[in-house]
Symmetry: D2
């Protein structure tokens, strides 16, 4: 039993068709379904029905994100633990969204809406599971492997970290501490899945989205992604560089509604016994932009 | 609780110093200690004291391999399950090998010696855990990130797969079946860690090692590894290519005693709910050597 | 004045439509025109009207290859030098082939037909020459930058080398000598253009084609090319590896008529003062297949 | 006969030993000799004795740069053409600098000192010219292949371009024009060697150096270079990105004296018949920083 991964995120977008065009033709996700006001998308290398939901809305941002648990019965187990932790929680009934079963939805100490679910239709990959080719016949756009993680902004990073590591039994790969060691201002966490992070929090105004990240294969794909974004006039905020935090290669850019996206490659493997890396607040720029070593103003302020 | 990863392998080598030279200067592992007849090595990106042990012996091959469990108490839990499965098992006492605590050792249905352990000294990485650089100051040789997996040869692949998936609660990512679907002739399995495999079995004579694999970052590193091996006259059996099985990029070569090594990059991420990919026996060559699509004779026959 | 580069090759193919499908959809060249029994193709990164011509014929092989000279008047200059060298030569009149002007055609000491030309229509690249994007909007197939070189088989490598270096004033980057240093069995030559070779000869039966090579950007593109060929069942003869000769990364495969193709990246820059590298015949395998260090039988025998 | 390539640059540096340490240990050039106040360096993949000379001085900048001609007699030929163009010119006698023969030195319309030379000692590569390995045994630092080009600042870009294309018979690959098409504010030029540029000029104060560039193999090497610079606290001005101009991958950074360096990979091949690409002044940022599309202030103002 337990939590397996971030499985879905639902983004609010201003113009649904413009957003669908961006996420399918530029990012290269596949549209797999529609329901009232929502479009469902999956990456080519994911098995489940969808990992990204676009919801037409008046303002951009994150409606909610969701982690998949191993068994249906895990919902009850975590329901108890989350309520004991003190979060407000409700059941989301089957049929609320396309291809999804029942879920639990709760409010994080940082104000974000999170869900846990097990039941979702299985669509599979175009390559199939019998004598597969490594890649599908043709791919479009940046063609990421998967939704990789979300980075959220909120005030109480310490408490939301406790929720994830204690109630949800996840692991902290890296953290950013104030110089006096008293406060936690950044936290990167993952389920037991080898990833450097499924979710991260940085201190700031509550209930904000910093970015949703998609996994590409290598540094070469990061360049190809950047070239493609430049080709189609997508605003690139952070050009190709290295994160020292999570050791990944990265670019940041914006969807048509102003939600920040990341294309992300590399990073290390994690296990339950991997020690947590600590950053002191004065080294944040070194940690995030290893080559530049200077913070980028919009990177701090542009939140949705 | 549970099994986290393959943590160690102990190889029998003919000439200890020649082997240490190969594994440190060509492969680029670090020698971290010696005890009677044994040399202990770790990769730069591993936290634990060692992942590879070289044992001087009259014939090459695998002394044993070992998986690390999350807690000391897991040993007892799996001890019971392994005995129930019918394997002969004994305790290995602390102090038997350098830097290691107590372990359990048992014989697989394929004749191999396997251990489970939790207690091992933590050496850490040269980059440390406080405001780290992504890489250590200088690296040597191929400089893999970690011991990635071992592939073993044995007769009863079906039963050994049951041991791993039922008693050890691991997961099967891929399997090779005879055309009639009756017998399993290949099996790739992983702990809950996102890896495509920690261990694999291919049908053949019992208690044989096919290869021990080291993880490098990208296809580019596979080329640099191959160039380095060629430069220093290490025999390369399989030049750079793609596996369709596990979707990895790879080369195979031999250590001075004839034990096969692999340098491995790429591959997909796995979760407990990832479906098992099935290969039919007639597509083995397509699966292993995606570009060549023909089996290499030595690849079948050179076992230690 | 002088010779600039190999500019074109005309291949004999058995089934024209099957070949066009291969060279456009798999290799990713663009069809730019047709004339009686011929199809004209260009790579996306070439300016001239075409670089590859397919000619329907009863047997595969090379009809001729052609080098482009800087000025129309160079034709007369080289005409004299080639005749002085002793080659049979004739003028090819404008209109013989699509988009081409006058050329001179002569027979090499190895029996191959070679042409020199200056006049060819300029089609340009899709990216244009005003504020261009680095890449065209979409690319297809392997999408090489250019026809890079041809490797031909013939008996008198020494004499054909003299023709190229003396009469045609080109340069020899590498050569393969018998152990006694008496005979030349391999020769790599280039115009003054920085390339490791525009043309090469290996000793063997006269008037044979070994391969026509296309330039891709990097080792990563070589992998993607190999994956694509495997995906569409194109027979790959040599899987991704390093040449020590010319220091390139490479794969070899066959077009539907059995003409060998190469996808080639890397290699060093050459200048008129670059010393010629010498290989002794006993090191041919090391030179051609740096990782494998063993000759591949078909690589010697499959000629068209 | 003719000009082959940029062969050397002599930089003024403030602290000779600190600069030698930087250019040998971080950049990875080899120190090949010293004479009064000067240190001579070469890249591993160059044949000639040196390509970079460091001269201790009170201010940073470029003492001169030099192009190599094919024959000693070319000096006389170009001497005449340069004087006819109207440049002040003098002979530099053999023995002025280590390992160098006679040269001609003249002042460009932009105030820079340029030399032409043929005679320089041949040191060769560590790999030799007999059955070579592709790479030397061990390499240090960024380990570029060669000095690739210099970009200079000066007022009269149009006239200096005429000097290079008419008197020196070189070629212009790209140019930047004012919107009215009247003035040339940028010019990229190369000898007949396939390079995208050996030298470039951007309009600005006379006699200034913008940067000296070193060639690395691929985008992957650009990342490794950036990681290494970050690791050793070398200030990186421009993190890894794409140039649309010359289509290269690049980073910019500063030597200890404030001279800007570039590590450069990719780019296209050029020939004498390659059309010149034109940029309009309003697209400079798009051309130089394809991903960012915004100019960087220091990139305009930090000149030596």
């Amino acid at each position: 039993m337990g939590i397996m991964r971030i499985g879905k995120a639902e983004l609010r977008v201003l113009d649904l068709e413009e957003s669908v065009n961006y996420y399918t033709n530029i990012i290269g996700l596949e549209e797999v379904g529609r329901s009232a006001g929502r479009v469902y998308l999956k990456a080519w290398d994911e098995f489940d029905h969808h990992s990204l939901v676009l919801q037409e809305a008046d303002s951009p941002g994150l409606d909610h994100f969701a982690f998949k648990v191993r068994n249906e019965s895990d919902l009850e187990y975590y329901e108890r633990k989350i309520e004991q932790f003190g979060c407000t929680l409700k059941r989301v009934s089957k049929g609320t969204r396309l291809a999804e079963g029942e879920a639990i939805r709760f409010t994080l100490p940082t104000g974000h809406q999170m869900e846990l679910y097990h039941d979702i239709e299985h669509l599979g990959k175009k390559t199939g599971t019998l004598n597969p080719h490594p890649w599908p016949d043709e791919m479009k756009g940046i063609a990421p492997h998967r939704l990789d993680h979300v980075l959220l902004i909120g005030d109480d990073v310490k408490t939301v970290t406790r929720l994830f590591t204690e109630a949800l039994e996840m692991f902290q790969s890296e953290r950013i501490m104030t110089l006096d060691g008293e406060d936690m201002v950044g936290s990167f966490m993952h389920a037991q899945n080898g990833k450097a992070h499924d979710i991260a929090f940085i201190k700031g105004p509550d209930n904000k989205l910093h970015h949703a990240a998609f996994k590409v294969e290598t540094w070469f794909d990061v360049l190809q992604a950047a070239d493609r974004l430049a080709r189609y006039d997508v605003p690139i905020e952070v050009t190709p560089t290295r994160h020292a935090m999570t050791r990944a290669e990265t670019i940041y850019f914006f969807d048509p509604s102003g939600n920040r996206n990341e294309a992300y490659s590399g990073g290390y493997i994690t296990y339950p016994d991997s020690p947590t890396i600590t950053w002191t607040e004065d080294k944040i720029a070194h940690g995030i932009f290893y080559h530049r070593k200077e913070m980028i103003e919009s990177f701090v302020n542009a939140l949705t």
